[in-house]
Amino acid sequence: MFVSINWLKNYVDIDQISPEDLAERITKTGIEVDGLERFANKVNNVVVGYVEACEKHPNADKLNLCQVNVGEETLQIICGAPNIAKGQKVAVAKPGAVLPGNFKIKKAKLRGVESNGMICSLQELGVEEKFVPKEFANGIFVFPEDAETGTDVTELLNLDDIIIELDLTPNRSDALSMLGVAYEVAAILDVPIRLPHTNYHAAEEKTEDHVSVKVEASEQNPYYGAFLVKDVKVGTSPLWMRNYLMAAGIRPINNVVDITNYVLLEYGQPLHAFDYDKFGSTEVVVRMANEGETIVTLDDQERTLSSEHLVITNGKEPVALAGVMGGADTEVSDQTTSVLLEAAYFDGKTVRKASKEFDLRSEASTRFEKGVDPNRVRKAGEKACLLLEKYAGATVLAGISEFDQLEYSEKTVTIWTSTINARLGTDISNEEIADILRKLHFNFEQDDETFTVYAPTRRQDIVIFEDMLEEVARIYGYDNLPFTLPSGGSQAGGLTKQQELKRHVKRFLEGAGLSETVTYSLTTKDRATQLISPEVAKDLVSTVSLAMPMSEEHSTLRLSLLPEMLASVAYNLARKQSNVAYYELGSIFISKEEKVSQQPEEKLRLAGALTGEWLTHPWQQEKKSVDFFVVKGILEALFDSLSVKVNFVQEKVDGMHPGRTACLYIGDRAIGFAGQIHPQVQKEYDLKDTFVFDIDFDYILEVHENEPSFAGIPRYPSVTRDIALVVDETVQAGAIQATIAEAGGELVKDIQVFDVYQGEHLTEGKKSIAFSLFYQDPSRTLTDEEVEASYQAILAAVADQHQAELRG
């Protein structure tokens, strides 16, 4: 809502406060001021001039040579505007004037002829093009005849007005009118309010003899009032009205349209003017539209209606879509002489539905949607009649044809000083509360600390105690509330074990060299089905998509964190950032239904992607690219830190390198995978060799044992034995290790691979793997015999199970 300060001054005295301070007070007390702007700028030396003579320039076809009386003198001015004519009153910038854009007006010669000033358009005076009435859009502005020659134009054109832009919250629709804003300002500044009168001179002839009103949908339209005005002369509206409309952001059209718009802004009540002669009958029938019925609206669009749309009809066909837009057939034109003026109350939900469906949000529909003030509907119609009488030469017929089942009464809300103070933490007195209610112009009855408040109908938002609590609090001033801390229970806050664990994992991975990413949960349909971990893919039925996505890019919920993460990696590679190590902890969304009817299951996944060089230390000749074992090492250390035992099993996963991928298991339970992205997929994503992991983090949280118990520090020495075995190259180290562990018995505390060799000195197809075995007994020193016995058992077992031979 754009509020013109000059317009506002008609209702409340605000001269004692600067617009900046006023804006600040409004913001602090009730409605956020989004901006404070000058309508245009004050100009000096621009006055009303009377064009006494206007002839063609002797040396230029498109220029005119004008003699313009500016009061104390007559200036010769050359003007190029197409609409200049003798007898006009125009805006003249005299030499010395400075127009917006620091455009200085000087005496000049144009094609050999002297020109002593400039005749101005509104745009040249700083008015925004979109507000300039169409008739003046391509030329100079012409004043009404009664503008006094020599008068400064600043005030006449309202150029120095200041516009307060209000950012209204949905509850404060009362401020969608100048009167509503006036009440607000009156309450804030504690100044009286002046309400406009609406008394017009009614003719003898009666409205009811020419038009009847019938409402068949009283729930959607509890009030419909029809006024009839005759002898209307469509023309230009008064300058002050045009100024106010422009300041409020509305382009003036003609007096009839301008008047309905003016009243809409003043009262917050939308009106509609029908050309009575084109109405097609003498009866207004309001009803729900018939299924498939059509209407051509003012914007020349044919609209097909349904039974949920409320329409105004002439008894036969729709002439307006109630509260949203009128019909083209009954539109007021320059030839209109009789106007049927509608002042009605339409149900907000009904209007909202239609305006949304047809994408026809307007000043009118917005107000109906939020609920207009029942007590202003008829008044607004009367005000429009008064203005039509005054500024369109109209004769207003007596009486209103109306249908009225509207509820006019005020809601009562009871408040108690003690409860108010208990809720606010304040110490406000009964007197202060009474004073606040008086400032708000709310009627009330007081019995000691009990106030029965009659919430005015303009304030539809006030229904319950808390609404009044807010009114009292904001007028009392939030700045005046004390700062206290909650007195109730001293519960200890904190993170849950699982939340702490999440932080641990993040810090661990960050310490290990990974950077955390946050990627989008919504991805493309394609990406949503890529790189899904096997245990997720297993019971997956379909992806979950938005009903109406903004773009394909973010249309489907992810089933893996990896695709978007890989896109981020590619983004970095494209910017010459070739070493990237990422992790993310985030949700995937699994639906087990063909067609979604329930919330998908949300599973927390821990994923990562690494590419490029892991370590570069050139001068000591150290360089290590990311490979599978870098990723595995990080994960093993992480799992260790969480005391969970995870096995890596060579398996194939869609989208992954078939020979460089492992599935991860805790016991028999699959919990994800790690490995290299398939070269083909790498190519699709524009990646170099990239290694990833994706883990079911919910399960990790579930199995994680929290408190580690103290195991003691070993007091007896350990014995180390190394063993190098030659096996077929297809035999996996993990398998041999498992055999060693089993065969070695309890004394084998740790087994480490320290060498893997293939090539010279070995038969083709064979490889050698060397292990270090650590023997220890926490309670005693081991004997050579028992270590040897275990060692021999191991040798026998690996020979038996893996055809392993001791490397000679």
């Binding site: 949905p170 933490g425 609404d467 939030y478 509330l481 206290t484 960050e510 950032q577 570069t616």
Partner: protein, 344 residues
């Protein structure tokens, strides 16, 4: 014999003096003090001496032996020190060469902000609750006093999956779920951080996915001044002790009264600058007293219980605190951006 010993001593000490390496010194030791050395020889010949001479010569021989041994030890220490020094000199490295790098990572800036805020409210007795990102219409809207067709639903453009299932537009449904779980039986003091989604076109200041932290405190006798006190503590800890806060009226369907909280602009100290659009204040969060309908729906008696709620956007806070000029930076994951915020 006495002369012989004294001559030996002189000779030995000279050789010790002349020795220039540990090897030479060892040779001297063997030569003079060894079992076949001259001093031992002298001592062997002591049998031929008279009773009176024996102890005198014996003492002298031991003294000579002792002095030579001492000289050797002292010389040895000297040589060892010199050799060590030489070795250390040879071992000298160029400490200005670069160290062996270790891979470094770090948290996402949004995580840092969220955890900072979490810790701050944990310190005030709040617990942290989480909930689903795909919500039901009921918990996202209806339980929060936003029935279908409520005009305020326009304030939050929503990604629907079906008519009843949607991407949550705020983390408030976690509050509704938590209150529902507790069934009005005791107080609730919680914050809920998480991802939220709105139908917005991504640009410098809008993102269809962003982060939110909402807080809720419901108890007997919760006052609006408590809200002001808690928010003031939050603002001062988060943005600096010299920040002021102000509350001004606003509207949210789930609170009444509703307010927005501004903090005094850090750049201009409230004087008015381009950062705060000349107002001296920067909007940080929305808050209010929990609407009685929300309490009632969650099973609380609004006559007995009252509460406050607040909600803020870590994205916006991060942008303000660190001068990030485009919200999309948070989701693009440019490593150069991420690394800028890895320092503590």
């Amino acid at each position: 014999m006495k002369d012989q010993l004294q001559a030996l001593e002189k000779e030995a000490l000279q050789k010790v003096e002349d020795a220039s390496s540990l090897k030479e010194l060892q040779d001297v030791r063997v030569a003079y003090l060894g079992k076949k050395g001259p001093i031992t020889e002298v001592l062997k010949g002591m049998g031929k001496l008279s009773k009176e001479e024996r102890p005198v010569i014996g003492e002298l021989a031991n003294k000579v032996r002792g002095q030579v041994a001492e000289a050797i030890d002292s010389k040895k220490a000297g040589i060892e020190a010199a050799e060590l020094e030489k070795q250390l000199a040879e071992e000298t490295i160029d400490v200005t060469l670069p160290g062996r790098p270790i891979p470094t990572g770090g948290p996402h800036l949004l995580t840092s902000i969220v955890e900072e805020i979490e810790d701050l409210f944990i310190g005030m007795g709040f617990e942290v609750r989480e909930g689903p990102e795909v919500e039901t219409d009921y918990y996202n809207f209806e339980a929060l006093n936003l029935p279908k067709d409520h005009p305020a639903r326009d304030m939050q453009d929503t990604f629907y999956i079906t008519d009843e299932i949607l991407m949550r537009t705020h983390t408030s449904p976690v509050q509704a779920r938590t209150m529902n779980m507790i069934k009005g039986e005791r107080s609730v003091k919680m914050i809920c951080p998480g991802k939220v989604y709105r139908r917005d076109t991504d640009d410098a200041t809008h993102s269809h996915q962003f982060t939110q932290i909402e807080g809720l405190y419901v108890d007997k006798n919760v006052r609006m001044s408590d809200l002001k006190g808690v928010l003031d503590r939050f603002a001062k800890q988060m943005f600096g002790e010299d920040r002021e806060i102000r509350l001004r009226p606003s509207f949210f369907p789930f609170t009444e009264p509703s307010v927005e909280m501004d903090i005094s602009c850090k750049v201009c100290n409230g004087e008015g600058c381009s950062v705060c659009k000349r107002t001296g204040w920067i909007e940080i969060l929305g808050a209010g007293m929990v609407h009685p309908r929300v309490l009632k729906m969650a099973g609380y008696d609004p006559e007995e219980y009252s509460g406050f709620a607040f909600g803020m956007g870590p994205d916006r806070i991060a942008m303000l605190k660190y001068g990030v000029d485009d919200i999309r930076h948070f989701y693009t994951n440019d490593i150069r951006f991420l690394k800028q915020y890895h320092q503590a």
